[in-house]
C-alpha cells in the first residue's frame, strides 16, 4: 500500500474510507427524537453517512449511543510539526559516560509528586532503583544523585529541598487531571520557582500519563514526558541540556532562555 502522506484519513477496511467509531451519551430519555439528535450531532461534526449502530436507555434520562461514520477530512502528515525532547535516547552506560566525560561531577535530580497528587508509582518508576519494565531508575545511575520526595509535596517544600540539595533538575509528576487540576498545580509551581529565583538554576521537567512535551513547554517547563517513559529518556534530556548549558559557559541565563518559548531543547 503506497500512502499519500499529504492526505491521511482513517482506514476501516479500504484506503481513504475515513471510517471512525464514536460513542457518547445524550442527556435525554431514549426516543426516536433522541436517536435523531444523535445522528444530527454526528453530522455536525462534519462526518458523513452516520450510522447509529446502538442506542440504550441508561437511566435517569440518559441515552448512550454508538455510531460509525465517515470523514472526508484528512491530515497532511508532511506538514505536521512534532517537537522531540531529544533526537536519540542514550542508554544508561552512555549517559554515565557522558556525565563523566563532559560534566565530571554528580548530577543532582530531585523528584516529587506535587500538591494533592499521591500517585507515586510513576515518579518511582523514573527515580527508584528498581525502575520500570526492566529499565533501571535514576537511583541506579552512579553519577546521578537521585532524591525522591514522594507524594503530595507542596511547591514550598520543593523549593526548600531544591535549594538544600542544589538540584540540577526537578522532576515533578502529575497524574490526577480531573478538572485540569494538573494545569493549576503545574502553573503554580512554575510561578513559585520563578518568584523564588530557583527556576533559572534548574532543569524543570514534568511527567504523567496525560502530559506531553508540547503541553509542558506551554506551561513553562523544559520538557514533558507521557506514558511509557523510562529513566533513560529523562536522563538523556537532563544530561544533554546540562551539557549544552555548561558549554555555553553560562548556565544561568541560557537555562532561562531554554525554559520557555524555545521549540526544541536540542536547538539551543
Amino acid at each position: 500500500m503506497t500512502q499519500d502522506l499529504n492526505i491521511i484519513r482513517p482506514y476501516g477496511d479500504t484506503l481513504n474510507d475515513g471510517l471512525i467509531q464514536l460513542s457518547f451519551t445524550l442527556p435525554l430519555a431514549k426516543s426516536a427524537h433522541t436517536e435523531e439528535a444523535a445522528k444530527q450531532l454526528v453530522l455536525k461534526l462534519g462526518l458523513v453517512e452516520p450510522q447509529i449502530v446502538y442506542s440504550e436507555d441508561i437511566g435517569a434520562n440518559f441515552t448512550f449511543f454508538i455510531a460509525y461514520a465517515q470523514t472526508n477530512l484528512s491530515v497532511n502528515v508532511n506538514e505536521l510539526r512534532v517537537i522531540p525532547t531529544t533526537t536519540k535516547v542514550l542508554r544508561k552506560q552512555e549517559i554515565e559516560a557522558c556525565i563523566k566525560a563532559k560534566l565530571g561531577r554528580q548530577v543532582v535530580v530531585l523528584g516529587a509528586c506535587i500538591e494533592s497528587d499521591a500517585h507515586t508509582v510513576g515518579i518511582d518508576a523514573i527515580m527508584n532503583l528498581k525502575g520500570y519494565n526492566g529499565h533501571k531508575g535514576l537511583e541506579a545511575y552512579q553519577s546521578i544523585t537521585a532524591i525522591n520526595l514522594g507524594a503530595q509535596i507542596s511547591g514550598e517544600e520543593l523549593v526548600v529541598k531544591a535549594r538544600e540539595c542544589g538540584a540540577d533538575a526537578i522532576l515533578v509528576s502529575q497524574v490526577v487531571t480531573q478538572k485540569n487540576i494538573h494545569i493549576a498545580n503545574l502553573t503554580r509551581l512554575a510561578e513559585l520557582l520563578e518568584a523564588e529565583n530557583v527556576r533559572e538554576r534548574v532543569i524543570l521537567v514534568v511527567g504523567g500519563p496525560r502530559i506531553n512535551h508540547q503541553l509542558a513547554q506551554e506551561l513553562g517547563y523544559d520538557a514533558g514526558f507521557g506514558s511509557g517513559t523510562y529513566a533513560e529518556d529523562v536522563a538523556t534530556f537532563v544530561v544533554e541540556t546540562l551539557i549544552k548549558r555548561e558549554e555555553l559557559g553560562n548556565a544561568g541565563s541560557s537555562g532561562k532562555s531554554g525554559s520557555s518559548g524555545n521549540d526544541s531543547p536540542q536547538a539551543e
Binding site: T14, Q21, I66
Partner: protein, 519 residues
C-alpha cells in the same frame, strides 16, 4: 478419563446410526455424477481459463458434452479421447473446443489401451502436483512451525483481493494463525467459478484461483516474517464445491469450509447435487491434506442453541461419517460448533461449556472449529468484547482447536482492521492468562454441566436413530436441521445431477477412493 462421564455406549450407538445414515445417502446417489464434479475433473486434467466471453473453460467444455448428452461417460473420458483423436494437448484442445472448432463428444473413440495410458499419465501428474503441494505445506510447518492451540482464525472480507491482502498481513502481525477469505454473498449460487483476480464483492471477495494464489503468496510472505506458518481458508461450498476443492488443492489452501448439508439447508441447493459434490470434494480435500470445517454453527442462527443443541451433535456425527466415506482421517475433520446461547439465559455459560466439552470428548482427534457468538451480538461493541471474552474462555477451558475469533462489530460490518486487532488481543489475553486452566478444573459429578451433556448426547442418539430409519433426505425434508425443510427433488442445481453410464470414467474418483466405500 473425560470430565463429563458420558455414556460411551451412546457414543458408539450414535456412530452406528450415523454410519448407516451416510451410507444410505451415498448408496442412494450412487450411479450419478454432477456437472460440477465433471468440471472439477476437467480442472484436474488441466482445463483452465476463460473463453472470449469470459466463460470459464471447464463450463464451456461441460456444456458441449451436456448438450450432446454425453456427460454420462464422464468428462475425463471425452477429454482424453479427443486429445488422442486430434493429437492435441489439453490447452490446444480446449482452445479449439471453446471456439467450437471441435466438439469433444464427436471425436472418434480411441483405443482403450492408449486412452488408459494417457489418462493415467494426466491423473498421476495432477495427483503428484497435489502431493507436492501437500509436501510444501509439511515443509513450511517443519521449518517455520505454527501458532499454539487454539489457532486464531480471522476473516478478511473487503471484496477486493488486494485490500484483503493488506488486512490479512496486518492480522498476521497481530497474531492470527489462520486467514479465511470470505466469499461474496452471490457466489455460492453461481454455477461456475469466476476467473482471475477480483476487486469487487459484497460482504466478501470472489473465490477465484488467482485470488487464492495471491493470498497464498501474501500469507507465505507474512508467515516467513512472523516466523510461523499461516493457514489459508476459503469456502468449498455452493454449486461449485468440487471445483473449488481442486483450486484449493492446487493453491495450497489449508482449510476449507466444507459441509455435507450446508448448501442444502442454507442455500437451497438440491440435496442429491450436494451429497455427490461433497463426497467428491472431500476425496480431494483428504488427498490434499486440507482440513475441512463443517457448518453446524449455522443451525444456531436460525434454530435455538439450547433446544437444538442435539441437532448440532447429530449433524457432527453425520458429517464425520460422510468424511470417513470419503476416506478422510480424523485429523482433517474440523467439525464445527458455536457459542450461540442467548446471553440473557441464566447459566447459559454452563450449557456452552457442557456442549463444547462434550464435542471435545466425543471427537478427541478432530481439529474442532469453534465459532463465536454472532446472533446475539449487538451494535454495542463494548459489550461485544465481553461476549467474545467468554467465548474465548469456553474455548481454552475445553481445549478447542480452531478458534474463529468473534468481532466486536459482528452485528455491524465485516471486520475493520482495528476490529481484528482488538479481537486478537482479546483472545491472546484470555488464552495466555488461562493457559492451563483446562487441566485445573473438573466438573462436579451429576452437576448441571454433566447432566446437560448427558441429555444432549441422549437426544442426539435418538435423533440419529430416527434419521437412520427414515433416511437423511426425508429427515431434511421434515425440517430436522436449522428448522428448515428441503425436498429431495427441490432446490437449485438438480439439473446438474447426471446419471452415469456403465462405462463412466473418473480416474480421480477411482484413485482417491481406493480401498474405500465407493459410489
Amino acid at each position: 478419563m473425560g470430565k463429563l462421564n458420558i455414556d460411551r455406549g451412546l457414543v458408539r450407538a450414535a456412530r452406528v446410526a450415523a454410519e448407516e445414515i451416510a451410507r444410505g445417502v451415498i448408496t442412494r446417489v450412487s450411479g450419478k455424477t454432477t456437472t460440477s464434479i465433471e468440471r472439477a475433473v476437467l480442472r484436474l486434467l488441466g482445463v483452465d481459463g476463460v473463453d472470449s466471453q469470459g466463460v470459464p473453460l471447464p463450463n464451456v467444455v461441460l456444456e458441449q458434452l451436456k448438450q450432446s448428452g454425453k456427460l454420462g461417460q464422464g468428462a475425463a473420458y471425452w477429454l482424453v479421447n479427443a486429445m488422442l483423436a486430434y493429437e492435441l494437448d489439453v490447452p490446444e484442445l480446449i482452445e479449439a473446443a471453446s471456439k467450437n472448432a471441435i466438439n469433444l463428444g464427436d471425436a472418434p473413440a480411441q483405443e482403450k489401451g492408449r486412452s488408459k495410458v494417457l489418462m493415467d499419465r494426466l491423473t498421476a501428474h495432477a495427483l503428484d502436483h497435489i502431493a507436492q503441494t501437500r509436501q510444501a505445506r509439511e515443509n513450511y510447518l517443519c521449518s517455520l512451525g505454527e501458532g499454539s492451540l487454539p489457532y486464531l482464525y480471522v476473516i478478511v472480507a473487503t471484496g477486493n483481493i488486494y485490500a484483503d491482502v493488506i488486512q490479512a498481513q496486518a492480522a498476521v502481525e497481530q497474531g492470527a494463525d489462520i486467514i479465511a477469505v470470505i466469499r461474496t454473498t452471490a457466489q455460492s449460487l453461481l454455477d461456475y467459478v469466476p476467473y482471475g483476480p477480483t476487486t469487487e464483492g459484497f460482504g466478501g471477495t470472489y473465490a477465484t484461483q488467482a485470488n487464492f494464489r495471491i493470498m497464498r503468496q501474501a500469507l507465505d510472505d507474512a508467515g516467513a516474517k512472523a516466523g510461523r506458518y499461516i493457514r489459508l481458508t476459503n469456502y468449498c461450498s455452493g454449486l461449485c464445491m468440487p471445483e473449488i476443492a481442486v483450486m484449493g488443492a492446487w493453491e495450497r489452501l489449508d482449510m476449507m469450509l466444507n459441509d455435507s448439508m450446508y448448501g442444502i439447508i442454507f442455500r437451497d441447493i438440491n440435496m442429491q447435487r450436494t451429497f455427490l459434490d461433497q463426497y467428491f470434494s472431500r476425496l480431494l480435500n483428504g488427498w490434499a491434506g486440507i482440513i475441512i470445517n463443517t457448518g453446524e454453527d449455522n443451525y444456531l442462527t436460525t434454530a435455538d442453541a439450547v433446544s437444538a443443541a442435539h441437532t448440532v451433535l447429530a449433524s457432527q456425527f453425520i458429517n464425520e461419517q460422510f468424511a470417513y466415506q470419503s476416506g478422510m482421517p480424523d485429523s482433517l475433520i474440523g467439525l464445527g460448533h458455536a457459542f450461540e446461547i442467548d446471553p440473557k439465559l441464566e447459566d447459559g455459560f454452563l450449557l456452552e461449556l457442557a456442549q463444547a466439552q462434550l464435542v471435545r470428548e466425543i471427537f478427541p482427534n478432530a481439529p474442532l472449529k469453534y465459532m463465536p457468538p454472532t446472533k446475539y451480538m449487538t451494535g454495542n461493541v463494548f459489550q461485544g468484547q465481553v461476549q467474545d471474552a467468554l467465548f474465548n474462555v469456553a474455548s481454552i477451558v475445553t481445549g478447542q482447536t480452531i478458534h474463529l475469533l468473534g468481532m466486536p462489530t459482528e452485528a455491524i460490518h465485516t471486520p475493520f482492521v482495528m476490529d481484528r486487532a482488538l479481537s486478537i488481543a482479546n483472545a491472546r489475553y484470555v488464552f495466555n492468562t488461562m493457559q492451563h486452566l483446562e487441566a485445573e478444573i473438573s466438573f462436579v459429578p451429576g452437576g448441571k454441566i454433566q447432566a446437560r451433556a448427558a441429555q444432549v448426547l441422549a437426544d442426539a442418539v435418538k435423533l440419529l436413530e430416527y434419521i437412520a430409519q427414515i433416511g437423511l433426505m426425508e429427515a431434511i425434508n421434515r425440517g430436522t436441521f436449522a428448522a428448515i425443510t428441503r425436498s429431495p427433488d427441490g432446490g437449485k442445481g438438480l439439473d446438474g445431477v447426471v446419471a452415469k453410464t456403465e462405462d463412466y470414467v473418473n480416474p480421480f474418483w477411482e484413485r482417491m477412493s481406493q480401498g474405500r466405500a465407493t459410489i
